[in-house]
């Protein structure tokens, strides 16, 4: 059964005030279009979880959508600070819960696997453990040594972007994989956005590349260029210029407000956003071509070997 709907419909249906949201993607595939739709719909009191909050959560926090942040690296990658998040934390306006990358992703692993916790080797960096009571230590019953454990993270809703998907949500992803798969399996509801909606046959031609199965997907949205200024491998490049510009834009709340007016509130959807960026940006972000070699899965429909 098709799960196709517009992104606006999917957000309306699946993202509610007070939800725990995980918009996934480690530098790659960050679903900015979904955040912009959440901002337009004025959803409030969200707990935002992401290993790297990136510009997407700087924008959601500046737009007043968030109550709390769960994270492991709060920087503008390759640039510096996430200024709105930093200001909100320093002023005490935003609650936060902090992890390291591996402890954060281990929480998703536990959530995605239906386990009560995930163990990890200890790191000796006890200051973070002391500040965040979600970290516990237990005894390894086999060796008697201490291991660090973290509880499952089970988002109410995850947004995950893929290069291509069929209408039921089976999705092919390639390039940096981040926490895409774990986030989708850990979540109660999953909104899948994709650059292309393809026939089921295309998915079935390469099942090893299906990292998100339709089984866990609730809504499928066709959203080309969903991830700009992040990127989608093989479709368009990362817009480093915007990441650099954000450092200036986000110096003041007013700067962000006027950015949001121009690029979010005054636009109906992602198609309008991409058109507004203009041909010069489209050309600059073009991905070029670097094809993989096809693989042969084999055709076993007519082989004597199977006739016993």
């Amino acid at each position: 059964m098709t799960k196709l709907m517009t992104l606006s419909e999917a957000i309306q249906l699946h993202v509610h005030d007070g939800d725990l949201l995980y918009a996934s993607g480690f530098t790659h595939l960050i679903p900015f279009a979904a955040a912009h739709e959440i901002i337009r719909q004025g959803i409030k009191d969200i707990t935002l979880a992401r290993a790297t909050p990136d510009l997407i959560y700087d924008q959601l926090v500046a737009a007043g959508c968030a109550r709390k942040l769960i994270f492991s690296y709060m920087g503008n990658p390759g640039v510096g600070s996430l200024r709105r998040l930093r200001a909100a934390i320093e002023s005490g306006e935003l609650e936060w819960e902090e992890y390291s990358h591996f402890s954060m992703i281990s929480r998703l692993k536990a959530g995605a696997s239906g386990l009560p916790f995930m163990p990890m080797k200890q790191t000796g960096a006890v200051d973070l453990e002391a500040q965040n009571p979600a970290f516990k230590r237990v005894m390894d019953p086999y060796t008697g040594e201490e291991v660090v454990v973290v509880p499952p993270l089970k988002p109410d809703v995850v947004v995950v972007h893929a290069q291509r998907a069929d209408s039921t949500g089976n999705a092919h992803i390639w390039g940096i994989l981040g926490e895409q798969r774990l986030a989708a399996f850990a979540s109660r509801r999953v909104i899948l956005t994709a650059e292309e909606i393809v026939d089921e046959e295309v998915i079935r031609s390469d099942p090893n590349r299906t990292l998100i199965p339709g089984l866990v997907v609730d809504a499928v949205c066709h959203v080309p260029y969903c991830t700009h200024p992040s990127y989608t491998q093989g479709y368009y490049d990362r817009d480093n210029e915007l990441y650099l510009a954000w450092d200036q834009i986000s110096k003041t709340q007013e700067g962000v407000q006027s950015y949001l007016e121009e690029w979010v509130y005054d636009l109906p959807d992602r198609a309008a956003y991409w058109e507004k960026l203009g041909p010069e940006v489209h050309r600059r972000l073009s991905a070029g071509t670097f094809l993989s070699q096809p693989v042969n899965y084999g055709d076993y429909s007519n082989q004597d070997n199977h006739d016993v």
Partner: protein, 254 residues
Amino acid sequence: MCENEYNQNELMVVNAARLLRDHDVVFVGVGIPNLACNLAMRTHAPNIQLIYEAGVIGSQPSRLPLSIGDPSLVSGASSVCSMYDVFSLYLQRGNVDVGFLGGAQIDRFGNINATVIGDYQHPKVRLPGSGGSMEIAAWVNRYFVITPHQKRRFPARVDFHTSIGFLTGGDARQRTGVRGGGPKAVVTNLGLLEPDQDGELVCQALHPGVTFDQVQENTGWPIRQADNCAITLPPNAEELRILREVLDPKCIYI
């Protein structure tokens, strides 16, 4: 264009590159550590294997990557894996020789703070936080820190232990049970600091033209000078050529 003489970033990149050994498996981020690894690969250590934190192994980027997740790291790489896999199968399992770390503060015993200046709950300055550095510091066989040498960056004790060095010195690190060997060198624009037997950082080498007094003036504890304190060799013409012409022609990091 780059300067004709070498600048302080070039000095740090070159000295960090020289610390790497052939066949090292290196967990690397972008920026100066990435330049150091790629310089070592093109000089004395052609068989270095690079693992990027984003889960990319054996990258052959066709341009200088500007973020840890740059798409150019993927095209032509030998393998890509998930974030959980890169931290567990590669790092936690003990398959990584070398890591590079940075931070706002590094203290007398090589502990690093990248989390907060002031009180954690009421931060004076909120920094980005650990990312992967908590795990890297604990689980790689040895790690290096590259940082400008300034007093505020070298306090006697860090405000927050984001990544552990030798904690309070002696066997304090060992007693935690972490697998890795800890910091082996701190590369600054003034020289090289290395831990002594007790885990305390001492001045092991000075860059050409630098005096030990300069190191002491820019360090927040009474630092010792090693008896055999050396003078580093200046960056040579070939190292500078590779850096300027091949690795970072637009001088983004150098």
